[in-house]
Symmetry: C2
DNA sequence: TATCTTTGACCAAACGTTCAATCAAAAGTA
DNA sequence: TACTTTTGATTGAACGTTTGGTCAAAGATA
């Protein structure tokens, strides 16, 4: 009946979808969303312009799909069944996980930050950001409370800003930013000197 | 001969230039550079499209002028005749100055960060960034050395990232980010506990 | 009148998007 | 094996819209 089995079609579609999304992510992150044309994406992916529209309804839906996929991957950090309290050794694991994600998804973070800074497109990530920010802050609050901080709320916000700043600087200058050393330093400051943070 | 004196023309031109630049800055920062049209800028500024091109050669030159002016204002922080060493009380003054600049030029910082994240336009600010980064790092290095830090280089980088992160978070959520409290906390941590930073 | 500012209709280029036509491969047929 | 049918993936010229940029003409003032 059918020239190909449903599984075969499924695989073709999936592969092309991923190809388009990865290609677009790289271009969006490097040249900006508005500054990247559909033609550029199609050319770099080695397909036609029309095929892209067979997989994604519009340029904006393509961006949305990329952002959602990236956020899903990032949110996996919070996956393990936590009880809400971070012990010192867990904090070390957590910092490691964050840095691993930042280094692995460098290109995605660049796009994500650029989008965040553009209110007119910001709505596309707004809700997902809450998903990320909420558990992050809860975890940090719990940790600093547990560590005997005088002002856990302030400590959590500052730690969060520090991570944001490190991510930003690393994204902007990945070749010269000493991210490995910084990670060790953070672990040293926040995990070894238990209960004496400040 | 001439309908107006040279001074009169000078003032007209200067006022219009400033008007256009301020209007464009706001739109660029809010909707992004690529996403803002010349027509929008002209309309919001209450002038015609043609007049804008009487003052700025192109959209990109307009952006460049805005960025340069903003950077000039920011660089004024480093203006006072420093000897290169920051004493503790000077550090407090310095932090205050930085926060003042960030709060005053919030819109500019938003544009500046968005541009920095976009390599294809990044060349417009690349050189000015060095002008900002270089003295900043020197100042911080000197301070942490003077404060008896075990690793002044690492401390300087981390402090710099922290400031970047605070700026970013404040820009993204100016209404709920407790920037005043954070400023006080930073001063408390880095200025009062002299020589015991870590 | 002379001179500079200001206008907005106009233009070519570039963009996102569409769609009728083509292609490639598996299944059926003999 | 050789040929036909069938299906969904794939193509790219064409379309309408929007954009940055131009320019001849009008406005304003001493």
């Amino acid at each position: 009946m059918s020239p190909r089995t449903e599984e075969q079609y499924e695989e073709i579609r999936h592969e092309k979808r991923v190809l388009i999304m990865n290609t677009a992510l790289e271009l969006f992150a490097m040249h900006g969303y508005e500054n990247t044309t559909i033609s550029q994406i199609a050319k770099k992916a080695g397909i036609s312009k029309g095929l892209l529209y067979n997989y994604f309804e519009s340029k904006e839906y393509l961006l949305e799909a990329i952002l959602n996929k990236g956020m899903d991957e990032v949110l996996e950090i919070f996956d393990p069944n936590k009880d809400g309290v971070l012990e010192t050794y867990e904090m070390e694991f957590f910092i490691n996980e964050i840095f691993k994600t930042v280094e692995k998804n460098r290109v995605f973070w660049r796009l994500y930050m650029a989008i965040s800074l553009q209110p007119s497109v910001f709505k596309l990530v707004e809700k997902r950001i809450e998903e990320l920010y909420e558990p992050m802050m809860q975890l940090m609050l719990g940790y600093f409370k547990n560590a005997g901080s005088a002002n856990p709320f302030m400590d959590a916000i500052i730690f969060n800003s520090l991570l944001d700043g490190i991510t930003l600087d690393y994204i902007l200058k990945p070749d010269i930013f000493p991210i490995e050393d910084i990670k060790k330093e953070l672990i040293h400051r926040f995990c070894i000197h238990k209960k004496t943070v400040s």
